[in-house]
């Protein structure tokens, strides 16, 4: 009971303090638009083909955007030690942070997806789409929390580190070059990005075709989530007192 209560309170705290700030919401809503202009315009790709990758990219960036910063912010502000003095442990803090990022990612992505569904009059496979969004936002938010675990106290350092990890994951994930056209090392690398599996699931949900079995996509996202949480827990525990 205390476990779930702690998660709920931490999620609420994060949403209230870090996610519901006007600049964060505005940036969250505008960011997909920036991505759209940056990666779609002038490339001569059909919008319906670009859309699954675009949605995946939006969900990835929004779910993993604030998570890397929460722990450094709290350590810098002196609230982290206070937080740990409540009846919580590091697992509760990690899950609470992940769920807050997940909710934010879903909230922003709903606008993008709604736009897409209206624009394309799409016959979307909702049964596949909803678990895809839930699972992937959890997975990407876990990555965000993992990125907050190194003992870097300065948020600017964390942002740099976070960008160093997140941007390459986008480029190897088959968003810009369809998965079928990837060859050799690029194709192998694509399997190491969780975004690849979400792009595939979105392609399946919107267009009814996939390159990987959807069940394998779901399994891969589950595995990535477990991996991110396990590593995150280990590093957060190791660096718990650093920077306080």
């Amino acid at each position: 009971m205390q476990f779930f209560r702690g998660i709920m309170v931490i999620t609420e705290k994060n949403i209230r303090i870090y996610y519901t700030k006007a600049p964060v919401i505005i940036f969250g809503l505008l960011f997909p638009l920036f991505l759209f202009f940056a990666f779609y315009l002038g490339r001569g790709i059909e919008l319906s083909l670009f859309f699954p990758g675009f949605c995946a990219m939006s969900l990835f960036f929004t779910s993993s955007s604030v998570g890397p910063l929460i722990t450094p912010w709290e350590k810098q502000a002196g609230t982290y030690e206070r937080l740990l003095s409540f009846p919580v442990n590091i697992n509760i803090v990690i899950i609470g942070d992940i769920i807050a990022g997940m909710i934010f990612g879903i909230f922003i992505s709903v606008f993008v997806l709604a736009f897409g569904m209206i624009y394309f009059h799409s016959n979307t496979k909702i049964v596949f789409l909803i678990p895809s969004i839930l699972l992937s936002s959890f997975c990407f938010s876990s990555l965000g929390v993992l990125l907050s675990s190194p003992s870097l106290r300065s948020p600017s350092h964390i942002m740099m580190f976070s960008s160093l990890v997140r941007f390459p994951l986008i480029f190897i994930s088959g968003i810009f070059i369809p998965f079928t056209k990837l060859q050799g090392a690029a194709r192998v690398a694509a399997f190491f990005s969780p975004i690849t599996y979400l792009v595939d699931l979105f392609t399946f949900s919107f267009h009814g075709r996939s390159y990987i079995n959807p069940l394998l996509d779901y399994s891969a996202l589950c595995l990535f989530s477990a991996l991110f949480i396990t590593i995150s827990k280990r590093f957060h525990k190791k660096n718990l007192m650093r920077g306080l």
Binding site: R5, G6, E12, G78, E81, R82, S85, P87, N89
Partner: protein, 328 residues
């Protein structure tokens, strides 16, 4: 080896069955690489007691409080909070305590009320009860007029009061305070000290770390002195002071600047310290020294502005204890 283990187990059973003590630390050790921050310290805190943990900066006070509150895992040793092992049941143990960390802060974007409600939610206090307690504690700490203002607009003293309120909202049996008055103005210090005494009256056990000897002297029933990670002594402040009462002093100030060589000649002085515009003359016979100071002043035509006999203070005891440890 086996004997040691059996002895440890018996010790833990004894500790668990002792209702009188709510905090029991046994052989606590914490190392950070090659540095031993806390070395095999043991003590126990009685129910309803204000226990001071005194030491100079870097002595190991914060490391100890972090081990007691479950933030740091000791390399060896045990901590029992109300009979609960903090190492194996940290969440259960934490429910019994309120913690005000030294560098601990509150969420400055939230209001005072929101901070306290947030803290209360961690303990599962029902909504209506939480609202009632929040209002009551804000009133007690003189924050009711500003309860809906963001904490970022508060002074440091007010922030510390919100910090204390957040740690007390669940009505803990044990309150851990790490340097609670450090860096605060006199009014805030007084209010917080008064509040600590009020907590004691209500039966809360208070564990207070400080390097402020006067705070410890005023508030604590027993104090432990830690130095370089080791426990030097545990005793009542008055008894500690009396241990060092053999060396007394006479504090005297003159209306003009006096050369130290003239004072040195006065009998019987063991040691002289200049403190601002006063001279502190250590002696074993203060009555004789007072007479001699008056006589010398008359002879040399000095005017004495003030003069008083000082007994050894807790500060003297502290300095002596930590100094002897350093020299040892």
């Amino acid at each position: 080896m086996r004997l040691v283990r059996i002895r440890d187990i018996i010790g833990i059973i004894n500790m668990q069955t002792n209702d009188k003590y709510v905090i029991i630390a046994r052989e606590l050790t914490k190392r950070f690489g090659a540095l031993t921050a806390v070395n095999r310290i043991s003590f126990s805190v009685k129910k309803g007691e204000i226990f001071g943990f005194l030491g100079p900066n870097g002595a190991g006070k914060t490391t100890t409080i972090r081990m007691l509150t479950g933030l740091l895992v000791p390399n060896s040793g045990d901590v029992l909070i109300n009979g609960i092992h903090i190492k194996t049941h940290p969440i259960r143990a934490k429910k019994n305590m309120g913690v005000i960390p030294e560098m601990g802060n509150i969420y400055v974007d939230l209001t005072a009320r929101q901070n306290i409600v947030l803290a209360g939610k961690f303990y599962g206090i029902p909504k209506r009860e939480l609202e009632r307690r929040t209002a009551s504690i804000l009133k007690q700490l003189g924050l009711e007029d500003r309860m809906n203002d963001p904490v970022k607009t508060f002074s440091r003293g007010m922030k510390q009061r919100v910090n204390i309120a957040s740690a007390l909202v669940h009505d803990p049996q044990i309150l851990f305070l790490d340097e609670p008055t450090s860096g605060l103005d006199v009014q805030s210090q007084r209010l917080i000290k008064h509040f600590i005494q009020e907590m004691k009256r209500q039966g809360t056990t208070v564990f207070l770390t400080t390097h402020n000897i006067e705070d410890a002297n005023q508030l604590c029933e027993r104090i432990a002195i830690i130095h370089q990670g080791e426990l030097v002594t545990i005793d009542r402040p008055e008894r500690l002071r009396k241990t060092f009462d053999t060396t007394q002093s006479v504090e005297v100030s003159f209306d003009s600047i006096i050369d130290i060589s003239k004072i040195k000649k006065i009998d019987p002085i063991n040691r002289i310290e200049k403190r601002g515009d006063k001279w502190k003359l250590y002696t074993e016979n203060p009555d004789k020294l007072v007479k001699n100071v008056v006589r010398v002043a008359q002879e040399k035509d000095f005017t004495i502005l003030s003069m008083e006999i000082c007994r050894a203070s807790l500060e003297d005891a502290f300095v002596k204890l930590t100094d002897s440890k350093r020299h040892a």
